[in-house]
C-alpha cells in the first residue's frame, strides 16, 4: 500500500462484493420460480440472467425470485423494476430472451416491447 489511491482502487473492486448486502440496488430483476415457472424452464432463465450480469460486470443489480403469480401460461415470467420506473413484466422468457432483456432494458433502459405482458 503505497498511497491512498491504491486503497481506493481496492475499494472500487471490493465494493461489488458487499453491495448486495447494502440494500441500495438500482435495478431489481424478479424471476417467477413457482412450480409452473420451473417446469417452463425458469432455472435456465435464472442461470442466464446471472451469467449475463457476470459477463457484463453489471453493478447495483439485485436478482430475486417469486412464486406463481397466476399466469402459468406465460412462464417463465421475469419482472424488471428500475428505480423510479414502473414495473415491467415479461412473459415466456427463454435464456436468449433474458439476455436480450438485460442488454436492452437493464443496461440501456429500453423496454423490449414484444415480450411485455404487463407494465404498471
Amino acid at each position: 500500500m503505497k498511497s491512498l489511491d491504491d486503497l481506493k482502487k481496492i475499494k472500487e473492486r471490493a465494493q461489488a462484493m458487499t453491495e448486495l448486502r447494502e440494500g441500495n440496488e438500482e435495478v431489481r430483476i424478479v424471476i417467477g420460480m413457482g412450480t409452473c415457472g420451473i417446469a417452463a424452464g425458469a432455472r435456465d432463465t435464472l442461470a442466464a440472467v446471472v451469467d449475463e450480469i457476470n459477463t457484463r460486470n453489471l453493478r447495483h443489480v439485485a436478482v430475486t425470485q417469486t412464486g406463481c403469480i397466476g399466469m402459468c401460461e406465460y412462464e417463465p415470467i421475469v419482472d424488471v423494476i428500475r428505480q423510479g420506473e414502473p414495473k415491467v413484466t415479461y412473459g415466456r422468457v427463454t435464456p436468449e430472451k433474458a439476455r436480450q432483456i438485460i442488454a436492452s432494458h437493464v443496461v440501456n433502459g429500453q423496454v423490449v416491447g414484444d415480450l411485455v405482458i404487463s407494465s404498471k
Partner: protein, 557 residues
Amino acid sequence: MEFYRAHVLVCGGFPCVAAGCRAVRGEIERSVKEHGLEREVRIVETGCLGPCDLGPIVVVYPEGTVYSRVSVDDVSEIVGEHLMKGRPVRRLEYTERLPSVSQADHKRPDYFGIQERIVLENVGLIDPDSIEEYIARDGYLGAGMALTSMSPDEVISAIKASGLRGRGGAAFPTGVKLGFTARVEADQKYIICNADEGEPGTFKDRLILEGDPHKVIEGMIILGYSVGATMGYIYIRGEYYLSIERIERAIAEARRYGLLGHDLFGSGFSFDIEVKKGAGAYVCGEETALIESMEGKRGEPRQKPPYPGTCGLWGKPTVVNNVETIANVPPIVRNGADWFRQFGTPTSPGTKVYTLTGDVNNKGLIEVPMGITLREVIYGVGGGIPGGRRFKMAQTGGTAGGCLSETHLDIPMDYESLQETGSALGSGALLIIDDSHCVVDIACALLRFFEHESCGQCTPCREGTRRLHDIFRKTRELAATEKDLKLARELAGVMQASSLCALGQSVAVPLFTIMDHYADEIEAHLEGRCPAGVCRPNPANADESAYETLQAGNGIR
C-alpha cells in the same frame, strides 16, 4: 468480480459457533451444491448479528431475511424453498428488525430503532476474514487519511475534539491520554490493545474482534501514528480461540496488503502488530498488571505513578486502550469529530456497546447512543422481562459495576449520570435481574468472584474480599447481625481507599449500591427472613457448595 445473486451470511460469533453454526454452514454448502446453485449463491461466515441466544443465525440477501435457531435439518428447506424458489421459510424467520441487517423494504416494526452502529458498523455484515470486504466499507480510509494528510498532533486534536472516552470502564478521555504519551521523548513507544475482557457477562470486545478485526488494526495504526509508536500489541485472553484466530489472520492479511509493516501509504511511518495471549486472570485486565504479564512476570499491578503513558511496557511510554475505544478511532478520523458528537450526550459523546444478559427477552450484543435510559434498553431493545416478572435490579459494567434499582430506570445511561447513582457504566455488561432473585444471594456470588480473582499482592484486597464474602455468606444463612453489616461497610470503605488497583477499590461499588438501594431487603435477612424466598438457614453448617446445592431451586420462581 463474480456476481452472486444471493449472499447467505452465517453468523460466526462465538455464541453461534457454540450453537452449532459451523455444521449448519457445512450443510448449506453441501445443499447449495446439490441444487447446482454454487455459482449463484455465495456463502459467507460473518461476525455477531446480535441476538446471541437465538443462534445459529442465518441471513439471506438481497432480501435481508433473518433465520434464527437454524438446525442442520432446516437447511434443505431454506435452500430448496428460499434460494431456489424465492419463498422465505416463514416458520424460521426472525421477524424483528436487526440493526446489523440492511433490508430493502422496512415493513417490520422497528424495535431496534434506537440502536446506532459506529463500532459495530461492519459486524454481521462483512466476512471478517476478508480484508477487501472491510476496505469496501471504507476500511483503512481513516488510517490512510491520517497518515497522508494529517500531522500526529492533528490526529490527537481530532480525537480530543470528538470527546471519546475510554470504553474499558475508566472513561478517561482518550485524546488526553494520547497527548501524555505524544509529549514524552523516547526511542520506542508502544500501543497496547487491551482485549483481556474479564468482567463476567461482558463479551463485546471478543465479538468486535471476531466480527471486524481489521477495524481494531486500523485503530491501532492511527493511535501509533499519533503518538509515534511503531509497535502494537494485542493482549487477548488465551481462551478466546476464535478472536485469536481471526485477528492473527487479519494481521497477516494486512501485512500482505502493505497495511502493516514499513512505509505505510508512502508516508514513511512504519507500524506492526503482534498478538500476546493472556492466561485469563481477571486482574490482568488492569493495565499495569497486563504489562507485567506481557513482560513475562506475575500478573500483579504496579504502583502508580508512573503511569504507563510515560513508563509502561519494558519501561517505555505505552498507550493502553480497550478494544471498543480503538474501534471508535477509525470512524472518528474518517468522519470528523462533529459527526461523532451528534451521537450521545455532550459530555459522553458516541455510542456504547453492551452485552445484554440475564432476565431479559432479547439477549445479546447491542450498540446504543450514550444517554438513552435503562428503561429504553430493557423494554425497548431488550423486549422486556420474560415470564411477566418484575424488574428488580440491573448491574452495569460487570461484577465491578454498580447496581441500579427500579427507581433508576429513567436515568440516562452515560458516564456522569451513572456516577451520580454510585454506579458506573464500566465495561458494557448489562445484567438484568428479575424479582425472583435475592440481592443478598447476588452479593454473595459477586464477593466470591472477587475473593477468587484477588491476586493477593496487597493486604486490603486479599483479606478484605475474603472477609466480605464471609459476612455475606452469614447474611445469606440468615445468621448475620447489624454489627456484621456495619463492619462490611467499613471494610469496603478501607479497601476502596487503600487497595493497590481497581480490583480491590471497586468491590465497594456493587456492594454499596446494593446495600443502599435494597436496605429493606437486607434488613429482613437480619430478622431471619428472605423476602424473595431464596435464602435459608444453614443449621448443619454445610460448606458453601453444599449449601448452594440445597439452596438451588428455592425462591418464588
